[in-house]
Symmetry: C2
DNA sequence: GATAAAATGTGATAAATGCAACAAAGATAA
DNA sequence: TTATCTTTGTTGCATTTATCACATTTTATC
């Protein structure tokens, strides 16, 4: 359960006062849980229509296929949502899980309940729906950005596309990658060493400057 | 503007009666437009925070990069939403546009208005927010499915992943592709002839049966 | 500070994929 | 109907990418 201070900064309960918050917790069967780094917060093979809202910390949605190859499908930060009804399991053999990268607080709520008319007519139910709409719109945007990157035909184009997105996001042609180069390779769904080679070529052709995770776009 | 009959089947105004619908049209500055096949409904270079809801017909969200390579980012059917705030343009040089495949009706509404508290306190404003939440959740699911496919490392894995998704969607291991093989190559972001070769291998190894757009999963 | 673990950087070689070009089959329009 | 355009199917060859293997650096842990 959130303290009054934490409620202020909560992405999903923003604008809702403490009394209503308490009432809604039971209304939505909300449960908050805390996790330590490396802990698995959510396994998508679990049944249920719950949606998790990452209140604090960083986590990743990981897919592990039948051959054991693991891929980062999403990187989650505070305010991001996840859940079975927001994912798509193309393959029954794959396992999908949310792994905490840092200590995390997650609030689980019953998603179908949000889409239904509230019988108890919570005063702020509709505000929560709007907040949820905002969060899921953000998620859709993030996913669209990923599709934009992954739909490029070569490692070079994927890298440049991703770098341009980051530059736009940071408002500067110089920026620091939010994760390791190994994870970047994963993010653009290519082999790490092949990506490193391409990075070198981009550097040699003076299309980018790059040392470690510091990138500068020169084109 | 929708007729009373059309209102019944409208994905976004579902559950809203005709009088309220009329009131809300002005409240949301909603505009409906019709398009003929091949017509460009929406160019993302256009300014504004409008969101389009495809009320009728089929359309595609196409990205054309600086080299003229075009890629289908999304296939839109009735009930799907699109808009600048739901996309991500990684590259300023790219153009993004919604091209109608058939005759289409599109309803444009002001998206930020939805997220704000309604000053006029429309009786059914909150219902519309819930409907929008449902539509955008669907969109997030669709995008997650696409990421699932595109993040696979080989053409083979992409094809199998896509086929499994379709099989699950149709509830049968035999299904018909919703678009041409050329467009499928585009969808999985690979070269068409390379994809055809891989399809042949899958057929030879008896992992699938395929003639034209009829696919049967055998694994 | 020592040690282990993870991340970075590089290269040789094999495998997968893209490209270009063409023919045949189907679909569409005049 | 013919003529035209799109889709499907196939190939040889060039290019890109993955695999594997290793050395080096950085980061985390005790």
């Amino acid at each position: 359960m959130l303290s009054k201070e934490e409620l202020e900064g909560s992405p999903i309960f923003e604008g809702i006062n403490y009394e209503n918050y308490l009432a809604m917790l039971s209304c939505f069967q909300a449960v908050q849980k805390s996790y330590r780094p490396e802990e698995v917060a959510y396994d998508f093979s679990r049944v249920g229509e719950q949606v998790g809202i990452l209140e604090r910390g960083e986590a990743s949605l990981i897919r592990i296929d039948e051959d054991g190859v693991s891929t980062v499908l999403e990187n989650l930060t505070a305010g991001n949502v996840f859940g079975r009804s927001l994912a798509f399991s193309g393959d029954v053999n794959d396992s999908l899980e949310v792994v905490c990268r840092t200590a995390c607080d997650v609030l689980y709520i019953d998603f179908p309940h949000i889409l239904k008319r509230c019988e108890k007519a919570c005063e702020h139910h509709s505000l929560l729906v709007r907040n949820m709409l905002r969060l899921i719109t953000e998620k859709a945007q993030t996913l669209a950005g990923r599709v934009d990157v992954l739909s490029r035909r070569s490692i070079r184009d994927k890298l440049l596309c991703y770098f341009r997105q980051q530059a736009e996001r940071e408002g500067s042609d110089t920026f620091t990658l939010p994760f390791s180069l190994s994870m970047l390779a994963d993010y653009i769904a290519t082999d790490r060493s092949a990506m490193m080679r391409e990075l070198k070529h981009l550097r040699q052709e003076k299309l980018i400057q790059a040392e470690g995770r510091e990138i500068t776009l020169l084109c």
